[in-house]
Assembly symmetry: C2
Homo-oligomer: 642 residues x 2
């Protein structure tokens, strides 16, 4: 049963968990990131992204711009795009004329950097106009364009302002001309534009954009390989020197997408691609393509995903490796990759409402995505390890990317604005609807308006507590479909106080309630928040003999700040984890978990036949998303058992 | 108490363990490797090492050699050197006129490639005579020279033939001239020549060589850094492109050697350097230098060594990383590095007889070094992982170097001939002596002649059994010092059937027996061969919740060939490993060990709150050195405990 996500405008968070994170993004992250994009924060990694656009606009007018140069990664424009998109969603939550004016100014600046024919990209405009479209594999032109299309759609959706939408439509027309009429075998090295073109199509109704998205997806991986057989021999320049071996897995272009069986290569590229595929599959009723998406989904979520919803086991290519190779550290599990996994999950949900998609979306969001941001909104993780040992992490040559604390910014700054936009638009991920039903995919306190004219007010302290109460305003006969997460083993659902037999109404993880809803009706969903010990498949070598604890959507971890050194700690076999009370002052408000365990003595020997003495110890666990907020310390998600 | 190793000529192995491995090396490995060096084995990685020397000799005579080129790594000569050295030791064990003739021919060929001034190196002679000595950091000229000096000393020692000794003395004179009079701040990027010069000094009595060894050691790491501050800016060529960052740890040149506290960088370079340092310390009575050696020894053996005696935790730079970072896979633990660790251990023993040095030497030899060679002597490991999962090992981008089975040869073929030479010369590692005592450092069946005129005949099936019986021939009043390994918790020592109180006569791991030894005396050493469970320090994150089994000197592992899939297996908490009887037909003859454990069911879920069902299972373990002799299969040294 197909469905569509709701508009971000139709959900307004209250002051519970999601609302608080959205507020943090509005009040701290968006202003902070705007300063970064303008190089206005001393001591923070330089971005120069706004200045690049200014320079490109200048170059278009005066040509000779002297010694001024583009600065940063070739995809620096995309940081501005994601910031605009996040700002758009923030404006949906709360009017902010000053922010809106700032965005309008950035858009005007961006528009002034657009070429006559619609082309727009600050790197190529400033540095290498003659090289545009010649390096699809590395140069990220379509990636940057795609992100700005997303920003344009978001800003138009929220404010009704068309300027950026028009700029990006003109840009999309330029891209259409290039790739549908000239360079027809080409497709982007970093997928993103596919999903963005689908959004642009939905916003404008222009069928060309859907056709172009489908074209890029269909061309990908066809023989002869575009990147290595057609483009590379004719190019004569590279963005990155020493692109050693011809790795087409890296860009998911070894095979046509319908023939791909395993999620491979750069994990963000992969999940952005699959998102676009799932969208095209839905909108073109392409069953083969949807089937390919399901295969790739299973490859990720059944064999290549961390318990935190992280994906990408290695920094070498920021990539997937092989089945069940899920080392806790070193690891990659890029924040962007889990965001992309949420996108993919949501697109699959829109194809067919199955709880497993929402379960993974939730897992990725509440663990890796949120862990990507410091609780104060001012520092960010790119890499999200499941184990950190200061002295090894960030130090050993194999662990230089696995940092024990969040930096303020990154030279390659894809993740921070990505977190901002996904948090700000969470309503669109939390709900979907079609002609017959309104779906609750995630639990987010606040108010949501349905197409059928109902308004649902959700009150919940999820993810810390499992009571989710919906109150209906308005009257309509329709179906409300409540997701029942797989982790909730004992779930209770009442309507106006009357308990429903869940097994009778639940299908594929959703409980469907069809009735003539009336003003004042209420639905109470009581999720099972029992903290539970999880076991990994024995095929996961890294987790042999270890367990982790999950409570509701939250995966927990043990940190040194609470327990002293983590490495000597064991969980007691068959110990039952126990959730403590909510601690409002701890880490922004959490429910810690305790579990019985042991601490092994350290006899000072590297290897010894003497069994280490164990002393009993209660281990205190905190939600993974709150780790590394108290300075460098040892952290483990998976703990050995004794 | 200082001592000296015995001459390889003074030990003759019988047909027990060491003798059998030596015989394998003589009969299989040395002929096989000679064929490889001559490119005579189709389908095996090409070496071309002999042809390079022929070409260099030709170049010296005719200059224009047409299109013929040097082939292989810049240190290809060193493979020939190590082969000659191994062949020399083989000749000590058993006359072989054909082999001796072959070696003589290779030496004559090598001599004809020597320049008038003593310089000899096939790469520089053929490809770049004008560049010699300009790239100390990368070009391995002194490394190749050092290996050939070692070969020269060995061949002279065994055969009395001086030709190669004279060639290498002339070469050493040339090196002395260059580095003591001209390029005095320089030292080798790959240490090796230091230890070789010490051997050459002992063989020739020429004090210059000792002075030169000391000079290289003293110059290393002085400011300004020779490699990066002096050489690099003046060079204009590199052996390897993209030597990215200025990593002076890689070559152990960040600090003067006396100030170095941690074993860092390329682990083979490190241990060769430390070996040279320990030798110079002994021979120059340099207490500071010995103290630095002890510090580095502790860094390795107390914090950076695998239980198999492997060193070097990462393939990135084939290097040490940081304390307690000992992942079982990926790993490096290069065969050569454990050989170098044996060298270092033996040099320290010669400085001061402490059992811990011999214990580590034994650990490295019986585990990683022997694992470096297939039981048939025809395949070799470069990297020695402690865990292998086919499908991950050798496949995942992070595990490409961790192979599940031994290849026939390597483009960079340092390890195979290194194994051959250390096995063939094991007598020199097994015994040492000084004016007052004769030391038994390792247990090796066979006959050894002492300086005091005693002949000891050792009968033992060590490492499979712990009875070691020595019979004395001749008469002399002297001390025999028997090593009591730390792993032998209950050791019995009798002289002519009468048990001695070990605690009265044991100091630092050696039992000293001083008496007027008479023809027919016998000493019976009964080592404790109880198989024991070992625990790693809690600081070793990779081994949390895991144990391994050691019996005597042998570390054991579980292989799929014996147990089915290894990943679901656990050792039962407090299970007592039990040694089975000797199985002559299994893996060349081993004593397998059994231990109670469990197999976890695989419920097919990647993560699950359902505790996996366990079924009892006896695990069968085999000595680590015999792993991967039955095709690709899962293997683990460290096993999780339930």
């Amino acid at each position: 049963m197909k469905s569509s996500r709701i508009s971000v405008k139709n959900f307004h968070a209250d002051d519970s968990f999601v609302g608080r994170v959205q507020k943090l993004v509005r009040e701290e992250v968006i202003p902070y990131q705007y300063q970064v994009l303008n190089d206005a924060l001393p001591g923070v990694e330089k971005s120069h992204a706004i200045e690049n656009i200014r320079l490109a606009a200048k170059k278009l007018r005066v040509e000779d711009i002297g010694a001024e140069e583009f600065y940063g990664f070739i995809f620096q424009d995309s940081d501005v795009a994601k910031w605009i998109e996040a700002a758009a969603y923030a404006l949906a939550a709360e009017p902010n004329p000053e922010l809106e004016k700032t965005v309008d100014d950035v858009i005007a600046l961006y528009g002034s950097s657009q070429h006559e024919n619609g082309y727009v990209n600050s790197y190529f405009t400033i540095q290498a106009p003659e090289k545009k479209w010649t390096n699809m594999r590395e140069a990220h032109e379509l990636y940057c364009a795609g992100h700005m299309m997303e920003a344009a759609v978001a800003y138009y959706e929220v404010t009704g302002k068309r300027e950026l939408l028009d700029i990006m439509s003109k840009n999309a027309d330029c891209i259409f001309e290039e790739f549908m009429h000239h360079n027809t075998a080409a497709y982007p090295g970093h997928p993103e534009v596919e999903l963005a073109l689908m959004r642009l199509w939905r916003a404008t109704g222009n069928e060309k954009y859907k056709a172009l998205a489908k074209h890029f997806i269909d061309e990908r991986g066809q023989e002869p390989n575009y990147f290595w057989k057609i483009e590379e021999p004719n190019r004569g320049w590279n963005v990155w020197s020493g692109s050693a071996e011809q790795d087409s897995d890296y860009t998911q272009s070894t095979l046509p997408v319908r023939e791909q069986k395993d999620a491979v290569g750069h994990s963000v590229r992969a999940a952005y691609l699959y998102t676009g595929m799932a969208d095209v599959a839905r909108e073109t009723e392409d069953a083969d393509l949807l089937s390919a998406c399901r295969t790739l989904w299973n490859s990720i979520t059944k064999r290549r995903m961390y318990v935190t919803g992280g994906i990408g086991s290695t920094n070498q290519g920021e990539a997937f490796t092989v089945d069940y190779d899920l080392p806790n550290d070193p690891v990659y599990a890029e924040t962007c990759a889990s965001i992309a996994l949420m996108f993919f999950a949501k697109q699959l949900l829109e194809n067919e409402h199955r709880g497993e998609y929402a379960d993974v979306m939730e897992r990725a969001f509440y663990n890796t995505v949120l862990a990507g941001m410091q609780l104060d909104g001012k520092r960010f993780f790119y890499v999200n390890p499941l184990e950190v040992i200061p002295g090894v992490s960030g130090k050993a040559v194999t662990h230089r990317h696995d940092l024990p604390v969040r930096p303020q910014w990154y030279a390659c700054a894809c993740c921070p604005p990505n977190v901002a936009r996904v948090v700000s638009s969470l309503g669109a991920y939390a709900y979907s609807e079609n002609e017959t039903a309104f779906f609750i995919d995630l639990y987010a306190g606040g108010t949501v308006v349905t197409e059928k004219g109902l308004t649902l007010t959700c009150r919940t302290e999820f993810p810390h507590y499992g009571d989710v109460r919906y109150t209906v305003s308005g009257n309509a006969e329709t179906t409300l479909a409540f997701r029942i997460p797989a982790w909730s083993e004992n779930t209770k659902l009442t309507v106006n106080g009357e308990e429903l037999a869940l097994s009778d109404i639940t299908c594929d993880g959703y409980a469907y309630i069809t009735r003539a809803w009336q003003d004042g009706d209420n639905v109470m969903l009581t999720l099972d928040m029992t903290a539970r010990v999880l076991y990994a498949s024995p095929k996961v070598a890294a987790d042999s003999g270890k367990v982790c604890v999950q409570r509701g959507a939250l995966v927990y971890c043990a940190e040194e700040a609470d327990n002293g050194e983590i490495l000597p700690l064991f969980v007691r076999e068959d110990a039952v984890p126990e959730a403590l009370g909510f601690e409002p002052e701890t880490l922004g408000g959490i429910v810690p978990v305790e579990i019985d365990g042991y601490k092994a003595e350290d006899n000072g020997m590297l290897y010894s036949a003497r069994k280490p003495k164990l002393t009993e110890k209660k281990l205190r666990l905190i939600p993974y998303y709150t780790w590394a907020n108290r300075g460098e310390n040892q952290m483990r998600v998976w703990l050995p058992v004794k």
